[in-house]
Symmetry: C2
Subunit: 198 residues, 2 copies
C-alpha cells in the first residue's frame, strides 16, 4: 500500500535490533484517515471470505481491528494479556505468546463465550515480525474449533520468521506493507499483498 | 443513550463490589455498530469545541477513541501503561493511576512529541468510576501545557467518585449512560448527558 509505505519512509524511525518506530501514526499516536484506508484495503482483500468475527490482541491491534470489523459488520474480539476479575476459571481459552521486543512471555486469553465452532475468524494486527502473536491467536481460534480465514497485517518485517511460519501453516496473509530490510537504518520494501492501489 | 442503556440492561451482568460486566459488547468483544453510534453521539456533543486531539488510555478506550477521532479528523493518542523501548528517558510525560478494580497503581505515559501547548484535547474512555484514569489523562495534558476540552464516557457509575471529581475540576463530561445504582444486582439509570435520542 503506497500510502503506508510513504508514511513509513517519511515518519518511521529505525532503531537497533531491527526495531521500526512508527509511534507517530500507528501504535501510540494514530492517524485516523490512514488507519481507515488500511482497514478498507484489508476489507477488500478478505471481503468474499464470509468473515463472522475479527480477532486481535491488545493494545495496538485494537484500532485497525475495530475499523475492519465495522466494514464487515461483525463483532470484534480482542485477546487480553491478563484475566479480568469477571472471568471464572475454565471460562476462557488460553495460550502463551512470547514477545521478542519486550522479552516476556504472556498468557493471552479470550472468553469461551465469544469464539464458537461456526466462526470464520479474520486475525488483524499492526505488526508481523516473529509471528508469535499471530500464531497465538490462531491457537485460540483452533481451541474454539473455529476456522482461521486469514491474517491482515499493517506492517510485515519480511526478513523475520513470522511470514514463513504463517505460510508454512497455509494461512492466507495480507500485509499492507512488507519490509525486506532495515539494515543500516534504511527501510527497503517487498511487494505488498494488498490489492488497492493507494 | 437509549441504545446503550438497553444493551446494558439486556447483556450487562452485575458482579459483587459494583462490577458491571459488559464484555460482550464494550471491552472484550465489541459491537462495532453500537460503538459507532456511541462515537457519533460523543462527536455531536463536542463538535463545536475545536478539538485538535483525542486522548485515551490502553486498552478499552482505544476502540471508541479511534472512531471519535475519525469523526473529528484529528489524531488519536493512547497513553501507555509501560514505556516502549523506543522512548528515551525524559521524552515522555508520566503520571500515576490507581486502578481500584485491579488494585494496582500504574505509571502511564505519553510521548512529548504528540501533546503540545496548542492542543485542545478530548479525553475518551469506556468507564468512569473513581475517575483516576480520567484525572491521570488530565494531568498528562496539563503537563504538556495543553487544554482539556472535556471527557467523553460510554458508561458512568454515577454513585462512585469520578463524576464528582471531574465536576469539581470544572471539566465538561458527557456520559452516554449513567448508572445510579447496581444494588441487589439491578441496574438503575440517571439521565444521560448525550444529546442524541437513539
Amino acid at each position: 500500500m503506497k500510502l503506508l509505505e510513504n508514511m513509513v519512509k517519511q515518519d518511521g524511525k529505525v532503531y537497533p535490533n531491527n526495531v521500526l518506530k512508527v509511534d507517530s501514526f500507528i501504535n501510540h499516536q494514530i492517524d485516523p484517515k490512514l488507519m481507515m484506508e488500511m482497514a478498507k484495503s484489508l476489507y477488500e482483500y478478505f471481503k468474499d471470505k464470509n468473515i463472522t468475527k475479527v480477532l486481535t490482541i491488545e493494545s495496538s491491534g485494537i484500532a485497525p481491528a475495530i475499523l475492519v470489523a465495522n466494514l464487515f459488520n461483525v463483532p470484534m474480539l480482542f485477546a487480553k494479556k491478563s484475566v479480568p476479575s469477571t472471568l471464572k476459571r475454565n471460562s476462557f481459552y488460553e495460550t502463551k505468546v512470547h514477545s521478542y521486543t519486550k522479552n516476556v512471555t504472556n498468557n493471552i486469553i479470550v472468553s469461551k463465550d465469544f469464539l464458537h465452532s461456526k466462526d470464520n475468524v479474520l486475525i488483524i494486527d499492526d505488526f508481523l515480525a516473529n509471528g508469535r502473536a499471530a500464531m497465538g491467536l490462531v491457537d485460540l481460534i483452533e481451541k474454539a474449533g473455529a476456522s482461521v480465514v486469514g491474517v491482515g497485517i499493517l506492517i510485515e518485517k519480511s526478513f523475520q520468521e513470522g511470514r514463513k511460519l504463517l505460510d508454512k501453516n497455509n494461512i492466507d496473509v495480507c500485509s499492507l506493507c512488507r519490509i525486506s530490510s532495515l539494515e543500516n537504518g534504511k527501510v527497503e520494501f517487498n511487494k505488498a499483498d494488498d490489492i488497492l492501489k493507494k
